[in-house]
Structures are given as structure tokens and as C-alpha cells.
């Protein structure tokens, strides 16, 4: 294990990998800082670009974007009270308050250090736990994978949409679209209407790009105005040792919360931020100060949302289930390199995977450096007007969708997916569940088929083995509990207002 890690570090420290890691972080911070652009969008647009790189380089770049974006959103959250990504909503509360009191750079310093702590914890968790989890999955057979897929879909469906019902419908739609093409078992062409381009099914990357980018573009177009000028401050963005010591426990706790939540399928940085803030407030000796600009109000959510970044890839590379919405494009990245998540990834290509895992640590360092020294510059970039952003992103998305297959049909797919994405937003369905189901669909079907083959046609095999049962129980728990809490909360609110 240690040997693997050291080999991985060597891979991660290769000049090109260092370059793409840093580039990814920089791009990520820019994207994160611009409100309206988020990590899922940036990552999905960059997936085609990773096509020519070695897989680990591509993954490192994407991870850099991910981590950078989650931190970058704190910049505008603090300076302008506009969160750059949904994971920074909470940071805006105390962050901007502190800025208005005259200490914007102090707030930025807290944010970057907290993000670093959280991110490091996340990268370490990724490095240490993935191999362990991967070996666990060696015991997994087809029925277990079916259970896992249902778990992942169930959780994304419940968290990402206006209602569990719509989330499941979104997932079913995704599964259905996933059946388009030649049936893997019999070779019969389903729903292809004779169109040759559909024989191999709907490729996920154009759909990813379309469904995540186009609705954002539309929202950008609507929003219209760029951000106002940002006030500069004279002090450097630096924390004093005493301040760091005082804030460190909060950062640590926030980070751990983030790591755990991130690793759970479908729950990501946004939720982690809220929960960590809540936790810090409850543990604090002066909870009433939260919201007025105290350091803990910045450290807890920022460390949590970065904590949730790398760790959301743990279930992705070991089980194939994304730990958060932004992790979904990573599945696409693995696919285009012909890689499959799971234990084989660790056995057959250890240099690749450990290079990636070790690189996660280095990415955090880049993030710290770039944030520390570059935050004001990034803030300036964040003021780019939508008028410039929209054409740029449009071109990038279109060319990206074309890039993989050198096929204009993929561009058409992207456009259709974009329309679908807008429709889903409008009617409050879950685009994330749809895309995840699209990617997982073929897997679910083939594993169900294999399970039935093992059991000679008996469906009970899916429900009578211990591991699937545990997973199903977990799924039910994770879906039902939040809904119950919501209902209790609304009942209390209704009583209060009555």
C-alpha cells in the first residue's frame, strides 16, 4: 500500500501532471467565482479535452477544477454576498458580514485556509479509503451492483428534485433513454428508428454537456448584469498563527463532516456546508454571533464543502456511484478512457489510480497557493460580463460535444439534452438523476440479467442476499428520514404561524 502511494506520488509529481493539476485548480477557481457557472458545468465541458491526455492527467485536471471551483465560489460570496456556487451559499452570510466590517481579506484568508484543510482531509480520505472500499467490492456480485445502482439513483432522486416522486420519474426516464441502441444481451436494436447513429446508444458526454451547461447558459442570459467593482484592501490575505489555532478545530470538524457527507452518494458540498454551519453554531459558546461575521461562520462551511469534493469520488471510483452531482462527469471521463470503476481499476492500473489519488493532495496545495496569492485577481475575473461568457461557453460546449466522436450528431444530442435540461428545470425534475440513470442504465440491466441467470430466473436473488438487503435498508433510511424531518419542520412552522 505504501509502495503504491509512493509510486502514485511520483506519477502525480510528473511535470505535465503538475501543470494540468495547477491549470485545473486555476480554471476551477475562475469558474467557481463566476456566479452562474458551477463545477458540474466546467467539468463536463472539459471531459472531451481530457481525451488525449493520459487518464490520470485528465482526472487530475478535472479534480483540480472541482476543488478549485468549490473554493472559488467563496471569493464572490465574501466580497459581494453572491455565492459563486451553491456550495458557498452559507459562506456568504458571515463572510460578507466580515468583509463589510472592513476585513474582506481576513475573510478570504479564513476561506482559503479552511478550504485547504477540508480539501486535504478529503484527498486523504480518497487516498486511504478507496483501496479499502475497492477490495470490499470484490465480494460484490451482480445482485449487489443492482442494489448499489438503486441506492445511488434513489438518493440523487430524493435530494435533487422538488419531490422524491419526480426524482424517481427522472431516473426512470434516464434508464429508458439508456436502453436506446443495441441490446447488450441479444443485439436487438431498441428505439433506434433505423438511425445508424443511435445503434451504439446515446453517448453520455454530449448529454452531460447539454444538460448541465445549456440551462446554466439560459440562466446567465436572463440574469444579465455583471458584478460591480470590488473594493480592494491593503492587508495581505493572511491568517495570524493565533487566528489559525483558534479556528482550526472548526475547520477540522467541518472538514470531517464534509468528507462523510461527500462520500455518501449524491449528497455534496452544498448540503455539507449547511450541515457544518449548523453544527458549528450549535457547538459554539456564542451561537448568536453567527451571521455577524465571525470566523467560524466562514471556516465551517468552506472546510465542509471542500471536504465533500474529493471524497465524493470515493464511491465513484470504487463502486461507480457518484458521491455528488459534480462527480457525475467523472464517470464520463472514466468511460471515454475505457476505464471501469471498481477493484480492477486498482489491480490493473495501480499507477494510474494512485497517481490520481496522490495528486489530490497536491491539488489542495495548489489551491492554497493560488487562493492565497491570487484571490483579488480571481475576484476581478469574476466580473466578466455574461455577454462575453455566453458565446464563449456556447462555442466551447459545441466543439466539445463534437470533439469525441467527430460527429455532428453528438452536437444534436447536446442540443436536445439542453432542451431537456431546461424543461426539467422548469418542471422541477432532476437532471442529475436523469444523467446518472442514463449512465448506469446499461449496467443495471446487464446485472439484473446476470442475477437472473445465476438464480435460474428467480427474482428473489435480488432481495435475499445480505449485502443488497443492507444497501436497500440504507436507501430507504436515507430517503425517508429527510422527508420526515421536512414534514416535521413544516408542521412546526405551520403551527407557529397559525
Amino acid at each position: 500500500m505504501l509502495e503504491n502511494v509512493l509510486n502514485g506520488l511520483i506519477v502525480a509529481l510528473a511535470p505535465f501532471n503538475l501543470f494540468v493539476s495547477a491549470l485545473g485548480v486555476a480554471l476551477g477557481i475562475i469558474v467557481g467565482a463566476i456566479p452562474g457557472l458551477g463545477p458540474s458545468m466546467a467539468i463536463s465541458i472539459l471531459v472531451p479535452v481530457t481525451f488525449v491526455m493520459a487518464p490520470e492527467s485528465g482526472m487530475l485536471m478535472l479534480l483540480g477544477v472541482f476543488c478549485g471551483a468549490v473554493y472559488g465560489g467563496s471569493i464572490t460570496a465574501i466580497l459581494l454576498r453572491v455565492p459563486g456556487t451553491s456550495a458557498n451559499i452559507v459562506t456568504a452570510w458571515d463572510g460578507h458580514a466580515m468583509a463589510r466590517q472592513g476585513y474582506p481579506n481576513k475573510a478570504l484568508a479564513y476561506a482559503v485556509v479552511a478550504s485547504f484543510v477540508g480539501g486535504m482531509l478529503s484527498a486523504l480520505a480518497l487516498l486511504l479509503f478507496s483501496p479499502l472500499l475497492a477490495t470490499l467490492t470484490l465480494r460484490f456480485g451482480p445482485p449487489e451492483y443492482v442494489a448499489l445502482a438503486i441506492w445511488g439513483l434513489g438518493i440523487i432522486a430524493s435530494l435533487e428534485s422538488a419531490s422524491l416522486l419526480k426524482g424517481v420519474i427522472s431516473a426512470l426516464l434516464g434508464l429508458l433513454v439508456g436502453t436506446i441502441g443495441l441490446d447488450p444481451q441479444t443485439g436487438f436494436s431498441r428505439f433506434t428508428f433505423g438511425n445508424v447513429n443511435l445503434f451504439t446508444g446515446i453517448s453520455s458526454v454530449p448529454v452531460l454537456i447539454g444538460i448541465f451547461c445549456i440551462p446554466e447558459l439560459v440562466a446567465l442570459a436572463r440574469a444579465g448584469t455583471p458584478l460591480r467593482r470590488v473594493e480592494r484592501e491593503q492587508d495581505p490575505i493572511l491568517l495570524r498563527w493565533s487566528e489559525f489555532k483558534a479556528a482550526f478545530p472548526t475547520m477540522l470538524r467541518g472538514g470531517i463532516i464534509g468528507v462523510i457527507i461527500g462520500a455518501l452518494p449524491a449528497a455534496g458540498g452544498t448540503i455539507a456546508g449547511f450541515i457544518a454551519y449548523d453544527d458549528a453554531k450549535r457547538r459554539s459558546r456564542h451561537p448568536e454571533k453567527f451571521g455577524t461575521g465571525i470566523p467560524e461562520g466562514i471556516c465551517a462551511p468552506e472546510s465542509a464543502n471542500n471536504g465533500a469534493s474529493a471524497s465524493s469520488l470515493i464511491p465513484l471510483i470504487t463502486l461507480g456511484i457518484p458521491g455528488s452531482a459534480a462527480a457525475v462527469p467523472f464517470l464520463g471521463a472514466l468511460t471515454i478512457h475505457g476505464l471501469q470503476p471498481g477493484p480492477l481499476l486498482f489491480e490493473n492500473t495501480p499507477k494510474l489510480i494512485y497517481g490520481f489519488l496522490a495528486g489530490g493532495l497536491i491539488i489542495q496545495v495548489f489551491m492554497l497557493l493560488l487562493g492565497q496569492f491570487g484571490a483579488p485577481w480571481f475576484a476581478g475575473v469574476a466580473r466578466t460580463s455574461p455577454a462575453v461568457l455566453i458565446p464563449v461557453i456556447t462555442v466551447f460546449a459545441t466543439v466539445g460535444a463534437y470533439a469525441l466522436g467527430s460527429n455532428l450528431f453528438d452536437v444534436a444530442l447536446m442540443i436536445i439534452a439542453g432542451v431537456l435540461g431546461t424543461l426539467m428545470r422548469h418542471y422541477k425534475f432532476s437532471a442529475g438523476a436523469f444523467v446518472l440513470a442514463l449512465i448506469l442504465g446499461p449496467l443495471v440491466e446487464s446485472n439484473i440479467a446476470r442475477s437472473l441467470a445465476i438464480s435460474y430466473g428467480s427474482w428473489s436473488i435480488l432481495f435475499t442476499r445480505p449485502i443488497p438487503l443492507v444497501i436497500y435498508a440504507l436507501t430507504l433510511l436515507m430517503i425517508v428520514l429527510p422527508n420526515l424531518q421536512q414534514r416535521r419542520r413544516t408542521r412546526a412552522e405551520n403551527k407557529a404561524s397559525a
Binding site: 456566479p35 458551477g38 488525449v52 456556487t85 451553491s86 431498441r190 455566453i390 458565446p391 459545441t398 421536512q486
Partner: protein, 162 residues
């Protein structure tokens, strides 16, 4: 508001599920199994959705997944529905794609970027020209040189440059 939309959506989904199921009748049993399961599930759930949309409003929910901007803006945007922004972006993309095949990458991209920026409100000359030009060059290099993509049905301009 949301409930009315739900009603339309559920009806559409139900019809979609029925049509889909009808389509699977022409498939042999094995390949049809999975799609049929899905379509049945879709049909059932769309009926449930329809029934729900007739009842009282449901409690509102947790934040969206990890993509995009602040919540307030999103809620506001959602409320406006299919407006000019949506159509503009879509038509823009389709136009861009079509023109790509006609005029080739370089010309189309430069012109598209410049015109789009102008239409969207950017009036600073140097920015419009500079960004269009530089960006096009950068993407051209990245996708067509670095990634060796098959060039789009090109134009004389491209042949001059290559």
C-alpha cells in the same frame, strides 16, 4: 403554479409511457423486458403525480445539487418560464452549429462570438474583437491541433491556415 405544471407533465409522461409500451410490443420478449418494466413504472408514477397535483401543496424542499448560482436568482428565473433568453440561447446554438458546417470553424466562431457579444450588450470594441479573435484561436489550437480533431467541413480560410 407548480401543480398546474405537474398536471401537464404527468399527462405528457403518461401518454409517453403508453406510446412507448406500444412500441415495445413489436420487440421480442428478452430485449423488451427492461424497457417495459421502466415504462410501466413511468406510467404508474405519472398517474400518482397527476393525483398529487390535484391535492394541497407539498412542503418545499432541500437545495439543488452542486451546480450553479445562488438560490434566490434561480427561484426567480424558474418563475419566468420559457422566455426570450431560453429561445435565444437555443437558436444561437443551432445557428452556430449549422453555420459551422457551412463556413468552417474559424470564420463562424469569430463572427458568432462578436455578434453574440454585441447583441448581448457588450459594447467595448476592443473586448469584442479581442476576445472573439483570441478565443477562436485558442479553441482552434486546443481542439484541432492539440487534440487532432477531424476538421469540420472547412472553408478556404482554413486551408489557408493549415
Amino acid at each position: 403554479m407548480e401543480r398546474i405544471r405537474d398536471r401537464y407533465a404527468s399527462v405528457f409522461l403518461l401518454v409517453f409511457a403508453i406510446v412507448g409500451y406500444y412500441y415495445t410490443l413489436s420487440m421480442p420478449a428478452r430485449p423488451a423486458m427492461f424497457p417495459r418494466m421502466i415504462l410501466v413504472g413511468l406510467g404508474v408514477l405519472s398517474i400518482v403525480l397527476f393525483i398529487n397535483s390535484l391535492r394541497a401543496p407539498a412542503p418545499s424542499i432541500s437545495p439543488n445539487g452542486d451546480h450553479g448560482a445562488g438560490e434566490e436568482k434561480e427561484k426567480q428565473a424558474e418563475a419566468e418560464g420559457f422566455d426570450w433568453a431560453h429561445w435565444a440561447v437555443l437558436i444561437g446554438i443551432v445557428l452556430y452549429t449549422v453555420l459551422l458546417t457551412v463556413l468552417g470553424f474559424i470564420v463562424t466562431t469569430v463572427v458568432f462570438c462578436a455578434v453574440a457579444m454585441w447583441l448581448l450588450g457588450e459594447r467595448r470594441w476592443p473586448v469584442v474583437i479581442g476576445v472573439s479573435g483570441l478565443f477562436t484561436a485558442a479553441v482552434y489550437w486546443l481542439f484541432f491541433k492539440y487534440l487532432y480533431l477531424a476538421p469540420l467541413p472547412g472553408t478556404l480560410l482554413e486551408r489557408v491556415f493549415s
